[in-house]
């Protein structure tokens, strides 16, 4: 909890740094704050986890692992933001502060032990995002994205809240342990309210993770938002939303699997196909990443679908692999867009000849997203698929593998463009922060690919 408090104070501090024109201090202070939070979490690792604050939050291994992952990825995003944000808005301090606020919400979502905290966490996370998406005040697409996101987010939050209410109506409590006990105590006479509550929660959470048919906001918002905000949304926010989703279902709803699994199955299959088929047809790299993020949501839903002891580990590794690779991909996109002014695949033509380092790291990221062996993405997919198989969903596995093959096609397009399509272009200048992030990203991707136990052992 001390980490969450630290971060909240950090955000306020950042706002004041902005007021007193200490722009240079923003980045170091934010990074230090994140580092402090990571340290505070790591200290908690070995202590016995008990629900805190009347059962509001619980910092078990699950929560700590996902929190550290979120903090780490946010750190990478911050490293990328040095020049980026100055160029699109003068409110730099607000930008840092809002991201930290959103992160705080994400940390609550991964460690909630009470449905009220789930709701509060999601709201803190989302409200800050609504502003961040529209932070380019004079850009129509940014405005449009923010408004769309806000309207649809508010709409879906309604479902989430209604679901929580119904669960409360059936069980008389928001507390996860109480809800679980209710199911154990009344295995045969569960109130219909409870079932409806689960369905509404699925709707609300599916929206947050961007699963079909509640995904419509994703491509437009990802495209309209500034690239770094898109990065943050598709990594940290998505990871946190999945962790929350999983935590809720893992703790409470396992006994009712027969009821909700078919619903989630349909959602998963729809998500996979819509994401992948749409991604195939894209000409813009950024939009392709948006659709691919939908399809990755589909893969991660497998983890919830085949819920069990291994689910948490699988989703953790998968989201770590996906987040790291996405950060690298978006970082390169920022650089390419800055030099070529375009987000299309053509803008990557011939990159390998002038910037071999960029091209190599992006290739590693793409291979990881595509799930090629010896990258982190493969380990993630592998753990996810073997979880599915353990429950004997063979047809589902066939679909997933088919989709993975589709994915490879569009991820390779950019590699082909970089290496096999000649183009006259100038060398893209890369500053030290970007170099560092790309290096860390590629290194971790390969390291996890070769030594998955680095991460798989956490949960």
């Amino acid at each position: 909890m001390s980490a969450i408090i630290t971060l909240s104070l950090l955000a306020v501090l950042l706002l004041y740094l902005g007021l007193f024109k200490a722009k240079k201090a923003l980045l170091p202070v934010s990074l230090l704050g994140l580092l402090a939070a990571i340290v505070l979490y790591s200290i908690q690792w070995d202590t016995d986890a008990e629900p805190l604050y009347s059962g509001m939050v619980l910092f078990d291994h699950f929560a700590v692992a996902f929190s550290i992952l979120s903090l780490f990825i946010t750190g990478l995003v911050f490293l990328l933001s040095r020049d980026y944000f100055d160029s699109i808005s003068e409110h730099v301090a607000e930008y840092y502060a809002l991201i930290i606020f959103s992160l705080t919400g994400a940390l609550l979502v991964v460690s909630f032990h009470n449905l009220a905290m789930l709701f509060i966490g999601i709201e803190i996370m989302s409200v800050a995002l609504y502003i961040l998406v529209g932070i380019r005040k004079r850009d129509f697409s940014s405005n449009e994205a923010a408004l769309k996101y806000f309207l649809m987010g508010a709409f879906s939050t309604g479902f989430l809240l209604f679901g929580i209410t119904l669960i409360y109506g059936a069980t008389g409590s928001f507390d996860l342990t109480e809800i679980k006990n209710y199911l154990i105590a009344n295995p045969h006479s569960i109130s219909p309210l409870f079932y409806s509550g689960i369905l509404l929660l699925i709707i609300g959470l599916s929206f947050k993770v961007g699963a079909a048919p509640f995904h419509f906001w994703t491509p437009d918002v990802y495209e309209g938002a500034p690239i770094l905000i898109t990065t943050f949304m598709s990594t940290v926010v998505k990871t946190a939303a999945f962790a929350g989703f999983l935590r809720l279902f893992l703790t409470c709803f396992v006994p009712l699997q027969d009821f909700w699994a078919p619903v989630l199955l349909v959602i998963t299959v729809l998500t996979l196909f819509i994401g992948n088929i749409s991604a195939l047809a894209q000409q813009s790299f950024k939009r392709m990443l948006a659709y691919s993020s939908i399809s990755h949501a589909g893969y991660m839903l497998f983890g919830i679908l085949s819920i069990g002891a291994a689910s948490a580990g699988a989703i953790f590794v998968y989201s770590a692999a996906y987040s790291i690779a996405s950060v690298v991909a978006f970082a390169v996109l920022i650089l390419v867009k800055r030099s070529r002014g375009s987000e299309h695949f053509e803008a990557f033509n011939g990159l390998a000849a002038k910037n071999p380092y960029l091209a190599f790291t992006l290739s590693v990221a793409m291979l990881s997203l595509a799930g090629i062996p010896l990258t982190a993405g493969f380990v993630g997919k592998f753990m996810m698929f073997s979880g599915v198989l353990a429950n004997y969903h063979i047809v589902l596995l066939l679909l997933a593998v088919l989709n993975a093959a589709m994915g490879i096609y569009y991820y390779f397009r950019v590699i082909v463009a970089m290496y096999f399509r000649p183009a006259d272009r100038e060398e893209v200048t890369v500053n030290a922060n970007y170099k560092a992030v790309l290096f860390i990203g590629a290194l971790l991707t390969i390291a996890i690919g070769i030594f998955p136990s680095l991460l798989a052992g956490w949960l």
Binding site: M152, F214, G313
Partner: protein, 639 residues
Amino acid sequence: MTDLIWIVPLLPFIGFLINGIGRNILGKPLIGIIGSGVVFVSFLLSCCLFSHVYDARQAGGDGAFTVPIFEWISAGKLSVGLSFMLDPLSSIMLLIVTGIGFLIHVYSIGYMSHDPGFGKFFSYLNLFIFFMLLLVLGSNYIVMFIGWEGVGLCSYLLIGFWYKNEAYAGAAKKAFVMNRIGDLGFLIAVFLIFTTFGSFEFSSIFPQAAGRVSGDGTLLLITLLLFVAATGKSAQIPLFTWLPDAMAGPTPVSALIHAATMVTAGIYMIARSNILFTLAPVTLQIVAGIGIATALLAAAIALTQNDIKKVLAYSTVSQLGYMFLGLGVGAFTGAFFHVLTHAFFKALLFLGAGSVIHAMSDEQDMRSMGGLKKKLPITYITMLIGTIAISGIPPLSGFFSKDEILAHAFVQNKVLWVLGFIGALFTAFYMFRMLFLTFFGEFRGSKEQAHHLHESPGSMTFPLIVLAILAAFGGLLNIPAALGGGEWLAHYLEPVFAASTAKTGEFHLEHGTEYALMAASGIAAIIMAIWAYGTYVSKKTVPVADGAERSLLSRLSYHKFYIDEIYDALIVRPLNKLSVFLYKVIDRAGIDGLVNGLGRTAEESGKGIRLLQSGNVGFYIFMMVVGVIALLVYGLIKI
């Protein structure tokens, strides 16, 4: 000794790193030395490992060693380790991969000496060797799969090596897509194996499988999927069309990847999993059927091709068909023996063809060649040996390996033998046609080419000579008992196929019949060679130009039975249409069109942006509500 096995694949990987990073810094000679040096050291180590296994076999053991390197994934009951398995089968494959790999590296130093991508080329070749070694050495299906994917990737990179040519890049893409179809089968099969046997390790799967009854449904499914994977990697019907196109890559690549090593991965994998296939007789029949069909079809196409590399490519497809025929009729040793001899003579033929192309200033059309035997004596003699070997004329290597496959086919099914025999006739004819068109008669090329004609440098002829010796004497490894031979290879490999042999019983054929079969195929091959001599040397026939009239059969063969066109019409175009349809209707019209596109036009025509906004989100929310209603209706029914 076996503890050091990890060095074997590591060395080429180090070579890849050095050459990849230093490709612009290191000079060409240094890159060449590093690139071939690491493979050479790997080869030496492989020799030591081989002798180790050999000693173990002599001492009466099964010669199998499993060397765990490290635990890779361990989650729950799922445990995958990077571990290597050294046994008679993999020890021989090691020698093929590193030995022939080394020769081809040396050859490339001369062949690629004028190419600006010299360093890149060597780093790719080294990477290929690394993945191929992983594939061969893996002691479980996951490591094998990693190697399998890796060699596919390298093949893709190397086919498209001269990527500035649009057609070459297309060929690379085609190879990649067809391989992916196969890989899909592999991946699903691997997962099925895991659910069935609870492990990925060969040593745990095969004994369990041996306990199952023949014709088991799960095994049938697994083996069919594995076979799909093999058809992709080893270019069998229906996924074979990528291999001839893959000739777009530099010739050493064709020799190394698309003739000697990677394309035989499918055969290696099936031979490795032989017990699974033995217990799935239906699959074996399919394997044999597809194998012989491919062998015949590709041989028929090769009869009329004029591009020297295309002839060899179709010949490779055809020979791979023979290997699958061998697997299908249970001649696992025979099939693997053919892998071995084929690696020798096909690498030799490709490198020889490369030498010819090099001398002819990149001309590949045999109609412009002829009379080269005086100018390229070493190339000529070595290629002659290769041609005799592949045609199955005794006593060169191809005769023995092909004969063993055909003998098994004869016992199993006479029809298969007849078809195989016809294919062998075709083989002899088109190979000698190629040889005579290239090296005999008058020179038909331009004056400039005639002026440039020269024998290749030593770095290119040396591998040719070594390979020629191997191609000539490789057959000695497994001389059948009927000829008084010791069947050394069969005995050496015995433990690998022991479980299968126990199920099917010993193969038995009267010596008299075997002599008759050998005589028939040997003599027939010689007759075909003479016929080719009559047609192309005595009568000096030269294949007609592209546009000329042809008979129906010749036209079919020349146009490769229109397979590419058929695929294009049946699969590629409908898929493209579907994709365009999806793009236009779902993405453009459905989402973008209804929403953004409509909005954009609305904005442009000055109707105001508010219209777009409301229409836009409204549609989204409408879709969401549809989803919500669907879920609630489900709930209503279910509760």
